[in-house]
Symmetry: none
DNA sequence: GTGGTCTAGACCACC
DNA sequence: GTGGTCTAGACCACA
């Protein structure tokens, strides 16, 4: 499982890391029970601050994707795939909305927007 | 055209305003050539600072959605709907990706995600 | 001598008017001694505020291009073409500099910038 | 790279700063990839408000001259010199026109105006 | 009255 | 320490 970050991106590094871990889970590269690299190890590999990785892991824990076991490490949760609750979909909807609106106002029609989402999902599943 | 903001949201106020103006355009409530409320007027209506609205309007101008005419006001651009370029869709894709990944990892399947996007688009078109 | 204004332009209306009067002089459409339209008349023709035209005329007078005779009107000065003084060229240089710099940084070479200036001068002399 | 401002000038401070950064790029003092001083640092050096420099930098970013990397700084863009497009030259032309007209009406001939432009370009390239 | 510009000072997220 | 965001209040040019 390789993680690559783009320091120049608008997206915060900690968020890039969380997202890529989630992508690894989706692709099956990271299976339930598997252990993530240590905070310090991953930080030095990526050349970023330890606190940044720490934040990523705690975000993932808050999302229920991993469990942080003090002194031992972070492990992928057994069953993160439980379907989305009403609150979750509402939250996702809120996050998606501004970008969807931007796409709509730039003249994309519904099919094009769906195709865009499809291309993202395909891309996530295939490689990185 | 009513604009409502949530000061407590983690989405910046200026961004909430920009998004709602774009939604108004999509719904046809704001037609090309129409004039937006003055920076100071809208600011006092919403109970926020002038500079916050100023930033919204300048962002919208940078996106090509409105034109700011000094001493006269901000008007909706004549042809904002020109279809999205390659760079634009790439940018949109980048912005969408983290949330789409989050939806995937939470167990939503492709149909559910498409339904979510559809519900957003419907919601944007209907009212607010 | 027709004057046209673009209310949408970044350039203030009073400045557009002054510039076009000067262009008329350069083309010979407005000869020394000729009388300009009245402030009120021109303002209503152009659909702008009287104060705006007033400002144009006073700017032109400050530049030595016209003379405002109270109760009588504004007349083109007899000899506006006296060559530029050191202070004038310095002032012109200051005004030109930011735009020239912008052209340079956008990748235009010296010849292209000269060609641009030439096209402006030709355009001024030909029509409007 | 030194930046000097004239608070008394009728040219806005933020614009003076942008122009001088562009001049530094033209002279090669600021090479692609180089990092500009921090917004707050430069502001305190020049004795102006942070927001003033912030506006300069965002304007330069809108012009494609620099890239602002949140939490990291502003860097000179790799390839700002891409030649000017039709719209760009039209815009430059509009900005140049009033001053060129003023020069013409003051009696300068074409050669003198070209010499003036040359002196500006030489001045920009040499020092400041 | 409108937008443009500027200041002073504040809190926050990120690194 | 960095940029991002926001507020409060000010003066000016323009219409």
């Amino acid at each position: 499982m390789y993680i690559q970050i783009e320091p120049e991106s608008d997206i915060p590094i900690y968020s890039q890391v969380s997202t890529q871990v989630m992508e690894g889970i989706i692709r099956g590269e990271l299976a339930a029970g598997e252990v993530l690299p240590s905070v310090r190890g991953l930080a030095s590999d990526l050349g970023v601050n330890m606190h940044t990785i720490n934040k990523s892991y705690h975000d993932l824990e808050a999302k229920g994707v991993i469990t942080i076991v003090p002194k031992s490490g972070a492990v992928i949760s057994v069953a993160p795939l439980k379907g989305a609750s009403k609150e979750q979909t509402d939250l996702l909807s809120e996050k998606l909305r501004p970008t969807v609106v931007e796409a709509m106002v730039s003249g994309m029609n519904d099919d094009e927007i769906h195709a865009l989402v499809d291309s993202i999902m395909r891309n996530v599943r295939e490689m990185k």
